[in-house]
């Protein structure tokens, strides 16, 4: 339903107003790949760092003649050592995400994809490398990566509730999980703990439909999951409201708790709200500590 092209253009539109996102760049050493994050020391890179006297091992072509001409010694121009951050995205593509309570609202999946890709665009513009979890798309940079990512994100899964894959996460990289987190919490928990083991930090964004928050139902109702696999019948839906809301709050609380343990950040976003708010929050969450 969402073609990669429209998804891309939507994401571009959403990402346009923001400055390039610079992800936190800690422990760059382990991912020795070139990026735009200066290491405050000499190394390979594009920007000028310092002039130093030429030493014996320096090749003659590396001598900066313009500088050397102003003095008697030869000088070599050092560049700042720059590396890139890797960010892994997981956007839930399960059937539960394709829910929307009102024709005027986007589906949760659409919102999640847009936000995820917008983040990716920002990060790539910022010079980061962005990929998807689970070895489907290793972190790379460049526009082509975006195209590929958009295509992969447009696919939908058959299962009711999605679970993140912790595979393919580079140590000390960063990750972004976008889902409704309504399914079984176990896989999420595991994935988060594994990510934390590898030193991966990041953000959890829970995307919910307003109806999932309000539970405005009454009377005899059979609730079905999106694929129809799960069902629950009640005679007085109105009576379930408070207990459902309790459980939802409990779920959010659990996610918050997990995030606190693992050093992630957690936020709930509703499809009825503006996507920009969520993107701003993501910006803040991924920019942390820089």
């Amino acid at each position: 339903m969402t073609t990669p092209l429209t998804l891309r253009s939507q994401a571009e539109a959403l990402a346009a107003p923001l400055p390039p996102l610079l992800a936190e760049a800690e422990h760059l050493a382990s991912t020795v790949l070139l990026g735009d994050h200066g290491r405050r020391r000499a190394g390979t890179g594009d920007t000028f760092w310092q002039y130093r006297p030429a030493q014996a091992h320096d090749e003659a072509r590396s001598i900066d003649w313009r500088r050397s001409a102003r003095s008697d010694a030869n000088f070599v121009q050092d560049k700042e050592w720059q590396i890139a951050q890797s960010i892994i995205l997981w956007v839930d593509q399960a059937a539960s995400m394709s829910f929307r309570s009102d024709d005027n609202l986007p589906t949760k999946a659409a919102r999640a994809r847009t936000l995820g890709l917008a983040c990716a665009i920002l990060l790539i513009r910022g010079g980061e490398r962005v990929g998807l979890t689970g070895l489907r798309l290793p972190p790379r940079r460049g526009e082509a990566q975006l195209m590929q990512m958009a295509e992969l994100l447009s696919r939908e899964e058959e299962t009711d509730y999605g679970a993140p894959e912790a595979q393919g996460m580079l140590p000390h990289s960063r990750a972004l999980f976008v889902s409704d987190f309504l399914g079984d919490i176990k896989p999420i928990e595991e994935a988060l703990l594994r990510a934390a083991d590898r030193g991966v930090g990041g953000a959890l964004l829970q995307v919910l439909d307003p109806q999932e928050e309000a539970f405005p139902f009454d009377g005899r109702t059979i609730f079905e999951s999106m694929s129809g696999a799960l069902r629950h019948e009640t005679l007085k839906a109105g009576d379930l409201r408070s207990r459902y809301l309790d459980r939802l709050a409990e779920r959010k609380d659990r996610l918050q708790q997990l995030a606190r343990i693992t050093g992630w950040r957690f936020q709930t976003h509703h499809t009825g709200e503006s996507a920009t708010n969520a993107l701003l929050w993501l910006y803040g969450a991924l920019e942390r500590n820089t």
Partner: protein, 917 residues
């Protein structure tokens, strides 16, 4: 048709279906409403939650009741219920439908005809020959049997008559044949009714249709002790009854009007009620008939004739100086004779003539002053009657000796004569019998009436024609001359007992009556009316409507004397030679009795009950209930909540559409008033005042626009009852004497306005004529308006008030008038003037009111072309005054908008500079 009470059923066996209702109840009760399927990703969180209570798997009882009612309504509806089912009357053979057709039935004649029509319809269904007979209008010949449909066409021609039936039994006796009778009775008993009933019963069965209605008859009004007594009679049935009687007559313009209406109450069980009308004679003489209000029947109308009319008689005597001798007064006997039947006027002749009496009696008045005589003569020629009595003065005067006095019918010989006295020969004379031409003809002459003195008439060729009463010796006693439309009558003796015993006798009173000086007794007897012919003036139909009777033939006096209306004597007003007689349906003795029927006669009510099929109603009720059930089921099933709530919202929006439009106009007003500074005036309701106020504020707005940084939009008229005042910083209120006081809500609004910083400028516009304390109408109105307003203590504008310097430096506040009486809120008591400062330190508040009467609006007013609408003062000084008025206006608005800004001491140096100190 099977029926319960007044409801019948076409298919009663369908009602057995009602037995199934309890089963339906049980069935429906166990079936819960169908569930809704909902896709909901949050279901994972719901797993494991159970319902608290299980009772809702049954349908709620009220929903069940709704459904059962719907089904019951449908079952009963299909059973074909009919309200008031009509069972067709059975019967065969000929049918006679009798109508009493008297005035008593006129009031609801149409319902009787409707009843006859339904009977005819039934007769047509039964295929019976029918005759409809109005007992008051019996057909000639045989009983006119015909097809019922034919009679239905003739029904409109059957009309009630203003009398009671007679001789009906005899008419039926001449016709043989047997038939069944339906008798539509008017409810009144009449002579011969039982005979007719007996006659009819020999022919077949009789059914009577009669309503126990009350019939009211109005008896002729009578006159007692100066009051008109109106009495009415009714069929003596039970309850007290309140009605009213209206007297109808011509007003001075000749238009028929209701002159007076009095209530009339029957006590319970009483057949007769009386009430009293007290009327001035002028009004009373105008009455032509009395009516029972709201009843259309000849019995409820009573025509009046001469019996109620009372003549106005003026008495003038020539010997007023002899006080105390009542019995010798020339007017004593006249007064005694006339008082019961006439209205007597006293006074001087010139005053009396203004009242235009019917009769003027001059007792022993010899001559009238020249101009008076001419006026009296003119009055006589216009129909007045001058009755003169002789006496010593007339006898002693030369009046009418040598020439004919126009105010005397004959010439008189000097001195008169005296017979039968101590100093004279002969016996006192008695009266000769009246001749046939005399108006007194027929009056018995008592033996003891003797005449001892008289004035004598000059023998004359015309004398014989003018004598209408004479003594036994042939000398005239009463002479009469017709002058124009009136007449002059001379009685040749005194009006007291000095000259004759005539005033002591009953003959005197009768003679006065015959002369139409006083009114005659009510009922002329047959002998009196014998041989006369009376012309109907107006006749009355059974509904009590009056019609012109001039085309009808005259009625013999003998018939009229009976006063019993019938085909030969229509009720109405009959005119004879010199009087009118009214023939009414009800006379003073009439008693109204309810027609009582023997127990063997079936009596039915008059009302026609129509069949009403209830099927449609019940089926629609069932459908409505089912519709309600749909909504209720949706509500119970939760389908009205949640995602479909927008439907309900849309419905609610639809309902709220109308108020929205009103809110729109209120919004427009608010926008207009608040998007720019707007001066406003209170709409007083007086178009001119409002127009001037608006023009004045326009002029002030233009001045402000030109001279200051205040740039107001066009002024607005504010209705304090309906409009919001909070938008306006300033209200100009021209006070008019006749404007209504604001309502309670408006007062609340005004007080809120004043408290929250608004300013009202009251302008009584009367400074030219009023001063402080003098109560001009506008001033009183202002007091009335301000009584409920929250106005602080006020004082005349002090010379250091901030109004004197908010923009211009002013000490005068003129408008079109230049009064100094302009009042504002008083300064606080502790405000002290500091040494060396030109004004006190008054730091707070804008005065909420300015009260004055200088008519500022007229001074400010400009028309559409910007020209001044009203002149102010004269010449250049007037223009100067207008300029000051405008400056005052500018100051006021500045004060309103900037408050006490100019009161701040910061401005003191500048102001001192400008004040030249």
């Amino acid at each position: 048709m099977w029926s319960i009470g007044s409801i019948g059923f076409a298919a009663p066996w369908l009602l057995l279906g009602l037995i199934a209702l309890p089963i339906l109840w049980i069935l429906l009760r166990t079936v819960p409403p169908a569930p809704i399927r909902r896709r909901f990703p949050g279901v994972a969180l719901l797993l494991g939650l159970t319902d608290d209570e299980n009772q809702t798997d049954r349908t709620p009882w009220w929903l069940l009741l709704l459904r059962v009612l719907a089904v019951a309504a449908a079952i009963i509806g299909f059973a074909g219920p009919v309200l008031n089912p009509q069972n067709a009357r059975e019967g065969t053979g000929d049918l006679v439908i009798l109508l009493d057709g008297s005035w008593a039935g006129a009031n609801n004649w149409q319902s009787r005809i409707d009843r006859v029509e339904t009977l005819l319809v039934e007769a047509a269904l039964a295929d019976r020959r029918t005759a409809v007979i109005n007992l008051n209008d019996l057909p000639v010949g045989d009983v006119p049997f015909a097809a019922p449909s034919e009679w239905r066409n003739r029904l409109p021609n059957i009309l009630p008559q203003p009398w009671q039936p007679r001789d009906a039994a005899a008419w039926f006796a001449q016709n043989d044949g047997s038939f069944e009778t339906y008798w539509i009775s008017d409810g009144l008993d009449w002579d011969g009714r039982s005979d007719l009933l007996a006659e009819l019963e020999t022919r077949g069965s009789v059914t009577v249709f009669q309503t126990p209605r009350q019939t009211i008859g109005l008896r002729p009004a009578r006159f007692e002790n100066g009051e008109v007594i109106v009495s009415a009679t009714r069929t003596p049935i039970g309850n007290p009854l309140e009605t009213s009687i209206t007297a109808v007559g011509l007003d001075p313009a000749g238009v028929e009007r209701q002159l007076v209406t009095v209530p009339l109450g029957f006590n319970a069980g009483e057949p007769v009620a009386e009430t009293v009308m007290v009327l001035p004679p002028e009004l009373r003489n105008r009455i032509t008939r009395f009516e029972v209000t709201g009843t259309r029947s000849a019995g409820a109308v009573s025509l009046t004739d001469d019996a109620l009319k009372r003549r106005e008689v003026a008495l003038i005597a020539g010997r007023d100086e002899r006080e105390g001798l009542e019995l010798l007064s020339p007017l004593y006997y006249l007064r005694e004779a006339l008082e019961p039947t006439a209205d007597i006027i006293d006074g001087t002749l010139s005053d009396i003539l203004l009242a235009n009496p019917d009769v003027i009696i001059l007792a022993d008045v010899a001559s009238l002053a020249g101009s008076e005589g001419e006026t009296v003569l003119e009055w006589v020629e216009n129909g007045g009657m001058l009755l003169r009595f002789a006496g010593p003065r007339l006898a002693a005067s030369d009046q009418g000796r040598n020439q004919i006095d126009p105010l005397l019918p004959v010439r008189l010989r000097s001195g008169g004569r005296s017979v039968g006295g101590a100093m004279s020969w002969g016996e006192p004379k008695t009266l000769a019998p009246f001749s046939t031409e005399s108006p007194f003809f027929g009056l018995p002459i008592p033996d003891d009436v003797t005449v001892t003195s008289q004035v004598m008439a000059q023998p004359d060729p015309t004398l014989a024609d003018r004598v209408i009463a004479q003594l036994s010796d042939g000398t005239p006693l009463v002479t009469r001359n017709l002058v124009g439309e009136g007449q002059i009558v001379l009685v040749h003796v005194t009006a007291n007992a000095e000259w004759s015993t005539l005033p002591l006798s009953g003959l005197f009173v009768q003679m006065l009556e015959r002369l139409a000086v006083s009114t005659r007794p009510t009922n002329p007897d047959e002998t009196e009316l014998a041989g006369t012919t009376w012309l109907p003036n107006e006749v009355m139909d059974a509904y009590g409507r009056l019609e012109d009777g001039s085309a009808l033939p005259g009625v013999a006096g003998e018939v009229l004397a009976g006063r019993v209306p019938g085909p030969d004597l229509l009720p109405g007003l009959y005119t004879g030679a010199d009087r009118q007689i009214a023939v009414n349906v009800i006379d003073t003795e009439t008693v109204l009795n309810v027609a009582q029927w023997p127990a063997r006669i079936a009596v039915e009510g008059m009302q026609i009950v129509r069949e009403t099929a209830l099927k449609g109603w019940l089926l629609s009720a069932a459908v409505m209930l089912l519709l309600i059930d749909v909504i209720a089921s949706l509500a119970v099933g939760g389908r009205l909540r949640g995602p479909r709530a927008d439907v309900a919202a849309a419905l609610a929006l639809l309902l709220m559409w109308a108020p929205d439009a009103q809110a729109q106009s209120a919004d427009d007003f608010a926008l207009r008033a608040t998007s720019e500074v707007v001066l406003a005036h209170v709409v007083t309701g007086d178009a001119e005042t409002d127009e001037i106020a608006e023009a004045g504020l326009l002029g002030l707005s233009q001045t402000l626009f030109r001279r200051t940084s205040i740039e107001p939009a066009a002024p607005i008229g504010v209705n304090i009852e309906t409009d919001e005042l909070a938008f306006f910083p300033f209200l100009y209120w021209p006070v008019t004497a006749d404007q209504p006081l604001p309502s309670r809500e408006a007062y609340a609004k005004l007080n809120r306005y004043l408290r929250t910083g608004g300013m009202i400028m009251f302008d009584t516009r009367d400074s030219d004529s009023a001063r402080f304390g003098s109560g001009s109408p506008e001033g009183q109105k202002l007091q009335a308006i301000a009584r409920s307003l929250d106005i602080p203590a006020i004082e005349r504008i002090p010379p250091d008030h901030v109004l004197t310097r908010t923009f211009y430096l002013l000490q005068d506040f003129p408008g079109r008038y230049a009064s100094r009486d302009v009042w504002v809120e008083a300064a606080p008591i502790n405000a002290e003037q500091i040494e060396g400062m030109p004004f006190r330190n008054l730091n707070d508040g804008v005065t909420p009111v300015i009260i004055g009467g200088n008519d500022w609006a007229r001074a400010w007013a400009v028309d559409d072309n910007g020209r001044r609408m009203f002149p102010v003062g004269r010449g250049m000084s007037g223009e100067r005054q207008r300029e000051i008025a405008l400056r005052f206006g500018v100051n006021v608005i500045m004060h309103v908008l900037t408050g006490n800004y100019k009161s701040d001491q910061v401005h003191v140096p500048d102001l001192l500079d400008r004040l030249g100190q």
